[in-house]
Structures are given as structure tokens and as C-alpha cells.
């Protein structure tokens, strides 16, 4: 019996095409529409010459001009970029070190646990991390009297590390260790082998990790909401505050710009990565 079903199945499995299954196209279109239709609407209405976000009147860049002139938006953008840059730089550095330490050493006991610890922020609900970080920082602030945007940057660095770590580690795992051995064999000191062989070859991974960290930091709401002190309003927090008073086309414009920045970064990373891997 088992044999009979086996033989009947084989020719069918060969001709199996997922795209021809009933409902596949409908499901795919539903996903695409639900994902992208709201974004398209947002972008379209950011160019609407009207205060309404549901009724189209005429094309205009008016809301972009207003957004650029808005001091609150300016300050929030600057704050977002500052935090994202610092968090990205630190997180990428730590992630690179962690990726090297988990791929470029002999297997050690507890390697799986180390991996889990590094990726932990991805598993823990963000609200839990946020509350925990808030109370932990309060303790420090009380004990030391330290204040400032450094706390926010530190919090962002922490949750950015796993996002930067994963692509870097993936890249390193694809690179055979023989290349570094070949460098050592050709009289390269460990540092020279790293600088001349490991680093250039893992650069696309680092770039991808950094971009991901940057976008994640730029986008964060929950942790930032808890940690940010007065005057440390980032762009998402500013948008959130404005939306409480109703959606305005100005917010649409800002959101569109934020989306554009993310897309630009991701495409840039993709293109550079492709060029690198071919070189």
C-alpha cells in the first residue's frame, strides 16, 4: 500500500506548482494590498493641498514646506538621527565583535547559550524590556545623579545589537576560515589578517547590520517612550504626540520622508553589498 501511494505521488509532486494552487493568487494579492495600500494612501495624501486626509483636492508640496519649517519636527528629527547614529555605531561594533567571537574560535561549551543571550532582546516582549530598562535607569540616575540623552542612546544600542549581529554572523559563517589561515600562512600577523582579509570580506555583512540597526533605532517607539527624558523627543514620539490631536497631512509628509530614508538606506546597502560580493 505504502509503495502504491509513493509511486502515485511522485509524478504529481514533480508537476506541483505552488502558484497554481487555488486561492494562492487571491491570498497573495490580499497580502500585498493590505500591506501597501495604506502606505500608498499616506503618500498620496501627503501631496494633497487640503487639510483633510480623506478627500483629494489638488497636488501641492505645502505640507512638506510646513513640516520643514516646523521647529518641533526639526528638533525631533535631529534627536532621532543623533540617537540612531550613536546607537548604530556602538551596536555594530559590539555585534561585529560578538560575531567574530562566535564564529572565529574553536567550538566551546555553551556556544548555543551565548548565541541565545545575544539574541535575547529579539525574544523578550519590548514592553518588558522597556519597563525593566526604565526602572534600572532610574536606579542609576538616583544613585549617580547622571542625566542626559546618553541613557536613551545606551538603550537604543542594546536593542540594536541583535539586529546588527544576525547579518554579520551570517556573513562570517559563509566565509571559510581557510582564508584567514591562508593569510597567516603568508606571514600576516593576526591583526593584518583581520584588516586585509576578514574585515573587507565581512564588510557587506557589517553594512547590512548597521543599516538594520539604524532603521530599527529610527523607528523605535516603546522603549524610547519610557526612557526619553524631557527634550529628548524623537521623530516617532513626536508623530505619536501629534496624532493624538488627529492626523494631519503634515504628519503624512513626515512619515513619507521617514519611509523614503529607510528605503534609501536599504537599497544602498543592497547595491553596495552586491557590488562587494562581486568584487
Amino acid at each position: 500500500m505504502a509503495d502504491a501511494t509513493e509511486t502515485r505521488k511522485t509524478p504529481r509532486a514533480k508537476a506541483f506548482d505552488l502558484r497554481r494552487q487555488p486561492g494562492f493568487a487571491a491570498a497573495a494579492w490580499a497580502c500585498i494590498i493590505f500591506l501597501y495600500a495604506p502606505i500608498v494612501v499616506l503618500i498620496v495624501f501627503s501631496f494633497n493641498d487640503n487639510r483633510s486626509v480623506v478627500r483629494w483636492t489638488e497636488f501641492s508640496l505645502r505640507w512638506y514646506t510646513e513640516a520643514f519649517a516646523n521647529e518641533g519636527i526639526q528638533k525631533a528629527t535631529w534627536m532621532s538621527l543623533k540617537v540612531a547614529f550613536v546607537a548604530t555605531a556602538l551596536a555594530t561594533t559590539f555585534a561585529t565583535m560578538a560575531a567574530l567571537a562566535t564564529t572565529r574560535v574553536a567550538r566551546f561549551r555553551g556556544q548555543g547559550i551565548v548565541f541565545a543571550i545575544i539574541n535575547q532582546p529579539l525574544m523578550i516582549p519590548e514592553i518588558v524590556t522597556a519597563v525593566a530598562t526604565l526602572s534600572f535607569f532610574s536606579l542609576i540616575k538616583q544613585a549617580t545623579g547622571w542625566q542626559g540623552v546618553g541613557f536613551l542612546m545606551l538603550a537604543h544600542t542594546v536593542f540594536c545589537i541583535p539586529f546588527a549581529f544576525l547579518p554579520i554572523r551570517a556573513r562570517l559563517q559563509d566565509m571559510t576560515i581557510t582564508l584567514e589561515q591562508a593569510a597567516a600562512d603568508l606571514y600576516a600577523t593576526p591583526w593584518a589578517a583581520f584588516r586585509r582579509v576578514t574585515l573587507p570580506l565581512m564588510a557587506p555583512g557589517i553594512l547590512a547590520g548597521a543599516t538594520l540597526a539604524f532603521v530599527v533605532s529610527l523607528d523605535d517607539v516603546i522603549i524610547t517612550l519610557m526612557i526619553a527624558g524631557p527634550g529628548e523627543t524623537t521623530l516617532p514620539i513626536y508623530i505619536l504626540g501629534q496624532i493624538r490631536r488627529g492626523i494631519t497631512p503634515e504628519i503624512n509628509a513626515v512619515s513619507t520622508l521617514l519611509l523614503g530614508l529607510s528605503l534609501l538606506l536599504v537599497s544602498l546597502t543592497f547595491l553596495l553589498g552586491r557590488k562587494r560580493s562581486r568584487a
Binding site: L179, A182, P200, R276, R278, A279
Partner: protein
């Protein structure tokens, strides 16, 4: 000169312990083409990696020209390696790959450029200096790997199965190429392979390894004609084994009859294994050591024919040029006494 003395290496511990090298000693001379030959897992690659510095022995010592190098890191050893999969740097072009070692040694630009050009000429790749690595064929990559390892003029060149990824014709070509390079550069080559033919054609001397031990060291013809152990005889080329017991009369009694041998025999009553290459077995009864049998099988292989002759107690293969014999017909074979090897393990 490389002096390797009593190297031992055990991987893992407890029940999973695997002895990769078991008390290995060998001396490799200046300008020698020395081959480590054995099946996979015999420890040949471990020994090579130890000479390169990628692996540390548990006990024992490696000396290079009298200087101990056992614990020197790879970048302090005047030894270069041609890796099995070449390990060329994909982000550098051909010339940059070849010049890497010299650059790391701190040579000036002019000298590097000159040496790179000369080395690329040596491996006949001077027209590809500016190429990217992924634009090269397998054979060309192989040559770049060779040039890269030769450029810094090391005292010893290690080659880890460098020809295994090439197709048959290219492999033949590279074999003579390697031999030529070794003669032209005068560098000591230590070559690792599991291909006995490769070992026989290129080497000055061969060390046959099995299970972490060196079983025999010698010139290719010594290894082929006078194998010291059954494993060596079996691993290199084709061979017939005939079990027997030493008689009082100085012959060996086998299931198919008594055989005379010229090689020295152990004491009477000892069990021994006689070994003879198929090309040394003569079809037909000609003089002493003739055994009667029937032709069981004939296999034609182009440049000759292999006859499988059934001797009753055993079967023997005989390689000959033309074979006007019919399968199933009676056929005697002669085992010349001077061609019979006596093995005792």
C-alpha cells in the same frame, strides 16, 4: 631540512578520542619532493597542518634547518601552503593575491612587482595578472595558488591535495608542472595525497600512512616493489596475496602448492603472506613456481588484459599484453620466485 620527531596528536577525549598522529618521526631533506600518502583519516593532513603551524602536537618536535618551530605561529614560519580549495582572496586580483606574502614581509613595492611578474611567468599566468579570481578557471586558480605560495620563496612548500579538484587531463598536466616547478625553484615540496599514482609519478620519496602511523618511507620503486606491510602493498597498485606457511625445506606451502622464494624467510612453521603484482605473474607454465588452474575471467582494458585465474584455493590476477586464452579453459600461471614478496603481518 625538516626533522619531525615523535609527533603525537589526539583529538577529542575519553571515548571519542581519535589518535590522528601516533609517534610519527620522519626527516625530509633539502630540495626533496616528499609525499605523504594514505587514505582519508590517516593523519597526513594533520601532519601537514602541524608543519604549517595550524595545529599543535600533543608531544614531539618539528625542526626546520635545526631550529625548533613546533610552537611558532604560522606567520613566523618560512613555510607556505597550497590549500586544497586554493583559499584565494576573492577581493583581490591575481597579482594582489600573489604579492600578498611579500607585502606582509614588508618588501618594497618595486621588489614585490618584479617578483610577482616573475612568479606569474613561472606558472604561465603572466597574461592574467589583473584578472579577478572569479574570472579564472579551476586550473588557473590552481596556478595562482601555487604562485602565491611560491612568491615569498619559502624554504618549504606544503601542498594539501592540490590536484583533487581538477579533471583528469588537467591533473596529469599539473603533475609534470609541479615536478618542473620543484626542480626549477629548488624548494622542498611536501605533498599530501590519497592518489597513489600521483605519489608514484612525482615524488622523490613517499611516506605511506595509515591510522596515524607511518608504515613505510622510501623511493616510489622501493614502495612499489618492496612494500614493508600488507597495507602498503594493497594501497599502492594492484597486488595478489597468497597465504602460506614456511616449510622446513625453505619454501612456502600454500593451498595451491609449494612456492620457492628468493626473499629471506622467517623460521619454519611461521604463517606468512606472499604478495605479487599482477604484471609479474606470467601466464603459462615456465619453470619453477608453476601453478595449474583455470581461466575464470578475462578483462580487457585497452593497453592490456587482466586474466583472473582460479587456482582452487585462491584466485590470482595476471596482467598481460595479448591473451589468446579462452574463459573456462585450463591455464597455468608462473610466479617468479624473485618477484614474490614475503609479508609478515
Amino acid at each position: 631540512m625538516i626533522e619531525i620527531s615523535t609527533l603525537t596528536k589526539v583529538f577529542g577525549s575519553g571515548q571519542e578520542a581519535m589518535t590522528a598522529l601516533d609517534n610519527v618521526s620522519v626527516t625530509i631533506a633539502e630540495n626533496e619532493f616528499f609525499t605523504l600518502l594514505g587514505p582519508s583519516g590517516c593523519g597526513k593532513t594533520t601532519l601537514l597542518r602541524m608543519i604549517a603551524g595550524f595545529e599543535l602536537p600533543d608531544t614531539g618536535e618539528i625542526r626546520l634547518d635545526g631550529q625548533p618551530v613546533t610552537h611558532l605561529p604560522p606567520h613566523h614560519r618560512p613555510i607556505n601552503t597550497v590549500f586544497q580549495n586554493y583559499a584565494l582572496f576573492p577581493h583581490m586580483n591575481v597579482a594582489q593575491n600573489v604579492g600578498f606574502g611579500l607585502e606582509m614581509l614588508g618588501r618594497d613595492r618595486k621588489e614585490i612587482d618584479a617578483t610577482v611578474a616573475r612568479t606569474l611567468e613561472l606558472v604561465r599566468l603572466d597574461h592574467l595578472a589583473g584578472r579577478r579570481i572569479d574570472q579564472l578557471s579551476g586550473g588557473q586558480q590552481q596556478r595562482v595558488a601555487l604562485a602565491r605560495a611560491l612568491a615569498p620563496a619559502p624554504k618549504v612548500l606544503l601542498l594539501d591535495e592540490p590536484l583533487s579538484a581538477l579533471d583528469f587531463k588537467l591533473r596529469k598536466e599539473m603533475q609534470s608542472e609541479l615536478k618542473r616547478l620543484q626542480l626549477e625553484t629548488g624548494i622542498t615540496f611536501v605533498f599530501v595525497t590519497h592518489d597513489q599514482e600521483e605519489a608514484l609519478t612525482m615524488s622523490d620519496r613517499i611516506a605511506v600512512m595509515s591510522a596515524g602511523k607511518i608504515l613505510q618511507i622510501g623511493r616510489p620503486m622501493d614502495i612499489y616493489d618492496r612494500p614493508a606491510a600488507r597495507f602498503v602493498a594493497d594501497f599502492i597498485g594492484d597486488i595478489n596475496f597468497i597465504e602460506g606457511t614456511v616449510t622446513d625445506g625453505g619454501t612456502v606451502a600454500t593451498g595451491s602448492g609449494d612456492l620457492a622464494v628468493t626473499a629471506p624467510l622467517p623460521a619454519s612453521g611461521t604463517t606468512v603472506t606472499l604478495a605479487i603484482r599482477p604484471e609479474h605473474v606470467m601466464p603459462g607454465a615456465e619453470g619453477p613456481n608453476s601453478l595449474a588452474g583455470t581461466l575464470a575471467e578475462r578483462v580487457y582494458f585497452g593497453s592490456g588484459t587482466v586474466l583472473e585465474v582460479d587456482l582452487g584455493a585462491t584466485r590470482i590476477s595476471c596482467r598481460t599484453g595479448d591473451a589468446p586464452f579462452a574463459e573456462g579453459a585450463p591455464l597455468s600461471v608462473t610466479l617468479p620466485p624473485e618477484r614474490l614478496q614475503v609479508l609478515q603481518d
